[in-house]
């Protein structure tokens, strides 16, 4: 039996322009999706409870039968969404914050659920003002992390083109999952924020590996790339496998935070495979064969 081998790619067959085309097209598409989202909804992604404010109840069925129906009639406000958690016999009911009447919402809903014989397993209440605060903090934190990473990368390589290649592919790794979230109908939650920050950390690994192999080691360019690729692809695929499995298990059991982190990291790492071995390789090749001479 032979081990799985990372496929060898013959980069000589493609020009830099061809290599860059695919990742740039995907990036442009992603930016377009996010821009469109922003123009239509006023936010770059579908915002979850933590960013809009509202109440989320986790309701368990205690008497049996027709829970969904009873949920719909139990509350005097129409729930914005009802989600069932298969493994747990629990329903997650979400109410967006009403700007006109935020007072005592959670308490009212709790007593209404009790009156309808539904036992409340968990209540989360987020006020709109706190939610907008969270949104601001998130953007600030993401910007700060990205900036810190960029500065560090420039300090590590001290040459413009290879450094900007890492930063550009990290940027694309962040933008693509956000666009994918919009298309898949996943809401922006704090778990997603954590995942995005982790993408900044994770995705740079394979880029650093590639740059290191090409710039700091002796050996021919294509040999260096294929060596870095063998290691890098193994790393990324391992992580994708872990994240996909975690996302699936967490979805079945209704652990929202882990599911969000798993899905977004898996998408981000897939994007990273493309960006590292197309965009980054092309930029490095241009730098190595043409950029240095100038």
């Amino acid at each position: 039996m032979t081990a799985i081998e990372v496929p060898e790619v013959d980069y000589t067959e493609y020009s830099n322009r061809q290599l860059v085309l695919v990742p740039l097209a995907v990036l442009a598409l992603a930016v377009l999706v996010i821009g469109g989202w922003y123009a239509v909804t006023g936010a770059p992604a579908t915002l979850g409870l933590e960013f809009t404010g509202g109440v989320e109840l986790r309701v368990a069925d205690d008497a049996g039968g027709d829970v969904e129906e009873r949920i719909e009639t139990a509350f005097d406000r129409e729930p914005d969404s009802i989600r069932s958690i298969p493994a747990d016999d629990v329903y997650v009911v979400t109410f967006r914050a009403a700007a006109d009447d935020p007072e005592g919402l959670a308490s009212d809903l709790e007593s209404q659920a009790d009156a309808a014989g539904l036992s409340v397993e968990a209540i989360d209440q987020v006020s709109p003002s706190f939610a907008s605060d969270t949104a601001r903090t998130t953007i600030f934190g993401l910007a700060l992390a990205f900036l810190g990473m960029s500065v560090l990368v420039f300090a590590l390589f001290r040459t413009f083109v290879p450094s900007i290649a890492v930063v550009a592919s990290a940027f694309s790794d962040l933008v693509i999952p956000v666009a994918a979230m919009n298309l898949l109908g996943i809401e922006m939650t704090l778990g997603i924020v954590a995942a995005l920050l982790m993408i900044i950390g994770y995705s740079v690994d394979s880029d650093i590996l590639l740059n290191n192999s090409v710039l700091r080691r002796t050996g021919e360019f294509y040999e260096s790339v294929s060596r870095a690729m063998r290691t890098g692809v193994t790393m990324t695929v391992t992580s994708i496998a872990a994240m996909l499995v975690m996302a699936i298990v967490a979805t079945v059991f209704g652990v929202g935070l882990l599911r969000d982190i798993g899905i977004i990291l898996a998408i981000g790492l897939c994007a990273d495979l493309m960006n590292t071995y197309l965009l980054n390789v092309a930029l490095l090749r241009w730098y190595k064969f043409e950029g240095v001479k100038r």
């Binding site: 968990a122 006020s127 600030f140 810190g148 920050l197 391992t238 496998a241």
Partner: protein, 541 residues
């Protein structure tokens, strides 16, 4: 005999760390501290010393601001804080002095400095307060929403007192600041439902002032008259303040000095009672020596004023000579102000809290700007199980890919074991410092396995590239090359995660802390150890 130790010190270090983690996880010496009145079994959850946060154990977290407005940089123009507060309150329709507070900045450093004035009556709008400040004639810098630091501290003390009194182990209260500079009070109570916690926060006790006086007929020589002052008779209960000159602290208190026609005001009644029972006389004030244990006056004690909260005497006071003379002459009731003085600031804080009898100094806005989250105990325990399952499956996925890729147990098996040792060391650390495990922390563990294995792949590939590893020197130089990449990757992860550690974004700081810790343990301990293991396996044949 030291040669093997020197050669394998990295592996030995890992073994020591794992043993240390085992001790921290299972040794009873490291078990969580028990709350008063709680047995050790109750404090320990499960067989390990690990503690679980709200979302894995059940409980309620409430985060809400204290309502009010504060004028900062107020020029007191030589007046006392009490005077300033009552002047501002006079300009606000229907607001009692109790809802207005004035605090000097840098208490204790002189009487000329600027200060802050706050209003905690929720019916007062910002513009009304601004108008009142303008009308009162005190110059000020700005008006912001929120209350003063002193009031926040007092609120935290009150809530902490309530949590302790209710015997809720693991309950905590703290102040947190958002990125916009607003302050919030964060209350966490494990094992309690949302409504229970809100009820606890809003619950109020009764407070009254009684007088104990010597009585030769009583067996312990003490007689007591209750109800000298009741809760509603206080017009204002200040926050604890440091004395302007000398040491010591005090709580300013004013008693209502107005009454309908034909009735005596509470201040007058208090004044009369104090003189009648001998706390104050024309010659001076009483020297109080009250024994709180036996509830009786001590040897040669004069009469005492008693502070009674929920039927229990919590403090006893004598009276200052100057105050006593003005009481005896009947002039005191015109102002109705006095100070309860103590030797230490902490005592003054306790008294201020006792006088409030559990009422918060400002309203906690839970339903409006607050955020709360509650998880039932069963749901929490389920989450604990589910997240463990998700974690185990993620590790299996990693192991599967690694085995498929290398097909060599010699390389892959140590890889998985090393990555797991990393998580185990982190669990030990969590148990050691008593950091409560939350879902976010579990996600951090899974992230650590991911980055850990990534780095081990880098080491393995680098070491095994370019043919056989036949000498130690070859191995070492390759290992060092691999380590540059690992160090750089670790540094970027730490940089990317550090904002989360300090920003207040829900539970995510736990996630960031454990990811960063995991990366550090990985780079410093487990990955060098893996290198050593791999070297033995590859070079010795």
């Amino acid at each position: 005999m030291f040669e093997p130790i020197k050669e394998n010190w990295r592996v030995l270090l890992l073994v020591v760390v794992v043993l240390g983690a085992t001790v921290a996880l299972f040794a009873p010496q490291f078990a969580p501290e028990t709350a008063p009145g709680e047995s050790a079994e109750n404090a320990t959850q499960g067989i390990t010393n690990l503690q679980y946060g709200l979302d894995l154990a059940g409980g309620t977290r409430i985060r809400a601001p204290l309502l009010g407005y504060t004028a900062t940089g107020v020029d007191f123009a030589g007046e006392t804080p009490t005077q300033v507060a009552s002047d501002v309150a006079a300009e606000l329709e229907g607001v009692s002095t109790r809802e207005v507070d004035a605090v000097r900045d840098d208490e204790g450093t002189g009487s000329d400095g600027a200060g802050a004035v706050e209003v905690t009556d929720t019916s007062v709008s910002e513009s009304e307060f601004r108008a009142a400040m303008d009308a009162s004639g005190y110059a000020y810098d700005t008006i912001r929403s929120g209350v003063t630091q002193e009031t926040r501290d007092a609120a935290v003390e009150v809530i902490q007192g309530k949590i302790n009194e209710a015997g809720l182990s693991g309950g905590s209260v703290q102040q947190v600041q958002s990125i916009t500079g607003e302050y919030f009070i964060l209350v966490e109570v494990p094992g309690q439902g949302r409504q229970d916690v809100i009820d606890l926060l809003e619950e109020r006790g009764t407070v009254e002032i009684a007088i104990a006086y010597p009585d030769a007929d009583a067996s312990d020589g003490t007689a007591r008259t209750d109800g000298i002052l009741a809760q509603d008779d206080f017009e204002n209960i200040g926050t604890a303040s440091r004395r302007e000159a000398g040491s010591g602290a005090y709580v300013p208190v004013s008693v209502v000095n107005e009454a309908p026609e034909g009735q005596r005001s509470p201040a007058v009644q208090f004044q009369d009672a104090v003189v009648e029972y001998g706390v104050a006389s024309a010659s001076g004030g009483a020297r109080c020596n009250y024994d709180l244990e036996t509830n009786s006056l001590g040897e040669s004690s004069d009469s005492c004023l008693l502070l009674v909260v929920d039927g229990e005497v919590v403090n006893a006071f004598g009276m200052d000579d100057g105050l006593a003379r003005s009481m005896a002459s009947g002039g005191w009731a015109d102002s109705g102000n006095f100070r309860l003085t103590t030797t230490s600031f902490a005592d003054a804080q306790t008294i201020s809290i006792n006088l409030r009898a559990g009422a918060l100094p400002a309203e906690l806005d839970i339903s409006g700007q607050g955020t709360s989250s509650t998880i039932s105990a069963t749901q929490g325990e389920n989450f604990r199980l589910y997240s463990a399952i998700a974690g185990v499956f993620a590790v299996f996925a990693v192991a599967g890919v690694v085995f498929l890729r290398y097909r060599e147990p010699k390389v892959a098996l140590p890889m998985i074991v090393t990555a797991l040792a990393e998580v185990y060391a982190l669990l030990g650390f969590a148990a050691l410092v008593g950091y409560p495990l939350e879902l976010a922390v579990i996600a951090g563990f899974i992230a650590v396995v991911g980055t850990g294995v990534d780095d081990l792949v880098i080491i393995a590939d680098e070491v095994m590239s370019e043919g056989e590893v036949n000498s130690r020197t070859v191995f070492d130089s390759r290992f060092r090359r691999a380590f540059w990449v690992i160090g750089a990757a670790a540094a970027t992860t730490i940089v990317a995660m550090s904002p989360l550690m300090v920003l207040s974004l829900g539970d995510l700081s736990g996630f960031a802390i454990f990811t960063i810790l995991g990366v550090l343990i990985g780079v410093l301990i487990t990955r060098p150890a893996y290198g050593d293991i791999l070297r033995r396996l590859l070079t010795v044949r």
